[in-house]
C-alpha cells in the first residue's frame, strides 16, 4: 500500500499518496527518507506517522501490507 499524506504534508509533497521505497522498513527510516526527499517537511512543528490507523513509534516495523499515513500537526475542533 502507498503512504497517505494529509494537511500540510500533502501540500509540501504535492501529492496525496507516495510509494514506499523497499529499503524503508521502519517508522524512523520512513521519517528520515521523507525529510531527505521533501526537506520542507522539517518546517512542520511535528510529523507523526500512523500505521494501520494508530500513531506509531520510530522503531515500529513497516510491511507492504500496512496502511501508512503522514500526520502533520492536527487542527480539528
Amino acid at each position: 500500500m502507498g503512504i497517505l499524506l494529509f494537511g500540510a504534508a500533502k501540500d509540501i509533497a504535492g501529492v496525496p499518496v507516495l510509494e514506499k521505497p523497499a529499503h524503508v522498513n521502519n517508522v524512523g527510516a520512513l521519517k528520515a527518507w521523507l525529510y531527505e526527499v521533501y526537506p520542507s517537511l522539517q518546517q512542520l512543528k511535528s510529523m507523526m506517522i500512523a500505521v494501520n490507523r494508530s500513531y506509531a513509534v520510530d522503531m515500529q516495523a513497516l510491511s507492504d501490507q500496512d496502511e501508512i499515513a503522514v500526520i502533520p500537526p492536527v487542527s480539528g475542533g
Binding site: 494529509f6 494537511g7 500512523a50 500526520i71 492536527v74 487542527s75 480539528g76 475542533g77
Partner: protein, 134 residues
Amino acid sequence: MEVLVNIKEVITVQEALDFIQSPECGGQVIFSGTVRNHTQQRAVLKLFYECYEAMAISEMEKIAAQVKEKWPIQKLAMLHAVGDKYPGDIAVVIAVASAHRGIAFDACEYVIDTLKETVPIWKKEFFADGEIGV
C-alpha cells in the same frame, strides 16, 4: 456508556442533544465550536476541514473509551464537520449526559481538549486578504 461518533459535512447541536437525551440523566454539558470571523485580527473568509476519516473515527472512539474508564458517564456524542465552513458554522460538537453535572463538565472538556490534540483532522484558513493558512 452509549457513544455516537460521526464525521460529516453538516452537524448540529440538536442531533447531539437528541442522542444524549435520557430521562435517567439530569445533567447535559455540550461544547460547540464554531468558525470565527477572524484569527489573530485577520478576517477569515472560510475554513476547509479535511480528515483521515478511518483513523479519525478510531481516535474518537479511543477518547470515548478513556472517558468510560475515567467517569460514570451515560452518553457521549462527538460530531465533527468536514468540508468548507464559513463564520458561524459549527465545526465540532461534544455532548455528555450524566447523573452528576461536575463530571459531565470534566468529561466534556477532556474530550474536546484531547480531540484537538490527537484526532487527524486539519483545517486550512482562507483569509479575506487572499492568503491561505495551514
